[in-house]
């Protein structure tokens, strides 16, 4: 049993990171009833923007760059955590302005539109930063490893899990404890009512889309030091996010979080026995759950099915 502990912990960490990736995706699907296939690319974009700020070659004139690099890594990293999601958020605004035209239509159009956006963003990433892998430097205090019960643990994983947990908590507070959350939830079920409440639905949607994008970008920065930065990272991340949404049930916050943890644990534990096949475990989990509960763990009947 004790041999499993590291796998369990790894699984838990993975679960939290996946939840962070899936949350923004969930918000958008819940309110707009459209699948944002570009979520992965925005996630990747967050990581690349952070690389720009934290990495050794900031895109600034030489003297400014030198000054910028004078700032301690910890500070730059901290700023990247805020600035990079904002930059990605600007891209998100552009995407939402396009996506607007698909609201209320067959979800196919949103899917296809964002598929095109994903192709464009991934190609832009390739052209700008090249196809090779990059490493996102993290402050010394967060990197390195420590020894615990005869095993070596990577320190950053725990920081990453912590940051993910904080972000998840903040999203929960937003949804459950603020009037905005009430509007978002109402909008998902009843856009008429939101209008009746005097809320500007298109502004609400734009806001939620940008929030979702920023969450994606933030997730990209947090995950980057673990998974590495490469153009394809978006697709690698977005597929588990899909899965989690279906598994947890569309439009359910806790569904998404619990599904993420389940997926993380499934991948972690199966990794202990057959690491080659650990990725398959999440798909099998999905098939198993969905054949029993058609709308996922916490899903309610959705407008999207009509």
């Amino acid at each position: 049993m004790f041999d499993l502990l590291p796998h369990l912990l790894n699984g838990l960490v993975l679960g939290l990171l996946l939840a962070l990736i899936a949350l923004g995706f969930m918000l958008i699907i819940g309110l707009m009833e459209q699948i944002n296939l570009a979520h992965g690319s925005l996630f990747a974009l967050g990581a690349y923007f952070a690389l720009m700020l934290v990495g050794p070659k900031p895109p600034l004139p030489a003297d400014l760059a030198a000054q910028w690099l004078q700032i301690p890594l910890g500070w730059r990293y901290g700023m990247a955590l805020i600035i990079a999601p904002c930059l990605a958020g600007i891209v998100g605004i552009a995407v939402e302005l396009c996506m607007r035209r698909t609201y209320g239509k067959d979800p196919l159009y949103g899917l296809l539109l964002t598929f095109g956006v994903a192709l464009v963003l991934e190609e832009i990433i390739r052209l700008t930063w090249g196809t090779r892998d990059h490493v996102l430097p993290v402050p010394a205090g967060m990197s390195g490893a420590f020894l615990f019960s005869d095993l070596i643990w990577s320190r950053y994983r725990f920081y990453a899990a912590g940051m993910a947990a904080v972000a998840i908590g903040l999203v929960w507070l937003l949804i459950e404890k603020t009037p905005y959350g009430a509007m978002i939830k109402a909008g998902a079920h009843d856009s008429e009512m939101v209008r009746a409440l005097g809320v500007n639905l298109s502004k609400l949607r734009l806001g939620v889309f940008v929030l979702g994008t920023m969450l994606a970008a933030f997730a990209g920065i947090v995950v980057a030091p673990i998974w590495g930065i490469r153009p394809h990272m978006g697709v690698d991340a977005v597929v588990p996010a899909f899965l989690i949404i279906v598994l947890g049930g569309i439009g359910s916050f806790w569904g998404a979080v619990i599904a993420s943890l389940l997926v993380g644990l499934a991948v972690g534990i199966s990794g202990a026995y057959a690491s080659e096949w650990s990725l398959l475990s999440m798909y099998l989990l999905l098939v198993a759950v969905v054949s029993i509960r058609a709308r996922g763990l916490f899903g309610k009947k959705s407008m999207l099915e009509v």
Partner: protein
């Protein structure tokens, strides 16, 4: 839908025209700076796209994991050749059966879904097949793929044609394409095809008319998957190998894109138009820049924004406008006399 007379036919004038044009391709393809192999690719992907459109355009089921069936067919073609019999027909039958079987498994789990849930589930299943193809090294060869697949001779009783060079292979796949087009045209215009179309327009109503919608959806998924597997088998033969990447999400998205670009939602021939445009654009743009995906993605965004019904849809709209204008001018010119 150009009137009921062509719907009732087995072979339409459009089909004949398309086959004739395609039959001349090897004569001029080199002259315009392309090469015969792209013709082979276009024809095979056209079969794939037509098979896919049975699900998307005819039945309205947004599948984002169709690459799985195409890939399963490709591997099945190679594996049948290596392990069962190196006979073209046996291998192609293996590809069809494997594709249809994969379709049956997936269909059983998703045929009761619609809309976004359907799309998400197909993505998940596509990924499952892709992961298996990458990881199951001993069978699929993993990332390296399944190599040394032969272009087997096509035997008809005592006569046998060698189809190992690109030109003869082209004529072989073209003949197959002709048969597939004929069968699909009949299928979409049959009662079965009408009911699939009714399901796309309103699943609720169709169910209340006494049709077991689930069974129809399942059956069309199986047929489409079998035919996609068939196309995959042909592709493996053409490429002389099978790789996992035809199964990944991007490739599964591409077939959706090709079908839509051409106008598969409104036209039988839309998917073929889309494939021709896409594959030629890939080669032409690809020769000029490495970033062809950038242009293609951008084109796609614009298409969804401004012409979601695709190229065939745009053409149809123009036709209708032209007809309406002609009609209007006729009415105008006849108005004084009648008034």
């Amino acid at each position: 839908m150009t009137g009921s007379s062509s719907e009732a036919r087995l072979i339409t004038p459009t089909m004949l025209g398309a086959w004739l044009v395609l039959a001349t391709v090897p004569l001029w393809i080199n002259a315009i700076g392309l090469y015969p192999y792209i013709g082979v690719e276009i024809v095979i992907w056209s079969i794939y796209a037509l098979a896919f459109n049975l699900v998307l355009g005819t039945s309205g089921l947004p599948s984002f994991g169709h690459g799985a069936f195409f890939g399963v067919g490709a591997y099945a073609f190679g594996l049948t050749q290596f392990n069962i019999a190196a006979n073209l027909w046996v291998c192609l039958a293996g590809a069809i059966l494997a594709g249809a079987f994969a379709g049956l498994i997936v269909g059983l789990l998703i045929a009761h879904r619609r809309g976004i849930y359907f799309a998400l589930m197909t993505i998940a299943f596509g990924q499952i097949f892709w992961t298996i193809s990458v990881k199951w090294h001993s069978v699929t060869g993993g990332e390296d793929g399944l190599l040394n697949i032969l272009r087997l001779p096509a035997t008809f009783g005592v006569v046998s044609f060698d189809i190992s060079d690109n030109e003869t292979l082209y004529y072989f796949v073209l003949a197959v394409f002709a048969v597939v087009v004929m069968l699909l045209w009949r299928l979409v215009n049959s009662p079965y095809g009408r009911i699939l179309s009714a399901i796309r327009q309103s699943e609720t109503r169709t169910a209340h008319l006494g049709y077991n919608v689930w069974l129809y959806k399942l059956s069309v998924i199986v047929i489409s998957a079998g035919l996609s597997g068939f196309a995959g088998g042909l592709f493996a033969m053409a490429q002389r190998s099978a790789f996992p990447d035809v199964m990944n999400l991007a490739q599964s998205g591409l077939i959706v894109m090709m079908t839509l670009v051409g106008g598969g939602l409104v036209s039988f021939w839309g998917p073929v138009i889309g494939v021709i445009i896409f594959l030629i654009a890939r080669d032409v743009i690809g020769a000029m820049t490495n970033a062809w995906a950038l242009y293609f993605g951008a084109m796609f965004v614009l298409l969804v924004l401004f012409r979601p019904e695709g190229i065939a849809g745009g053409a149809k709209l123009l036709m209708e406008r032209w007809k309406a204008r002609r009609e209007a001018s006729r009415v105008l010119s006849s108005a004084p006399r009648s008034g």
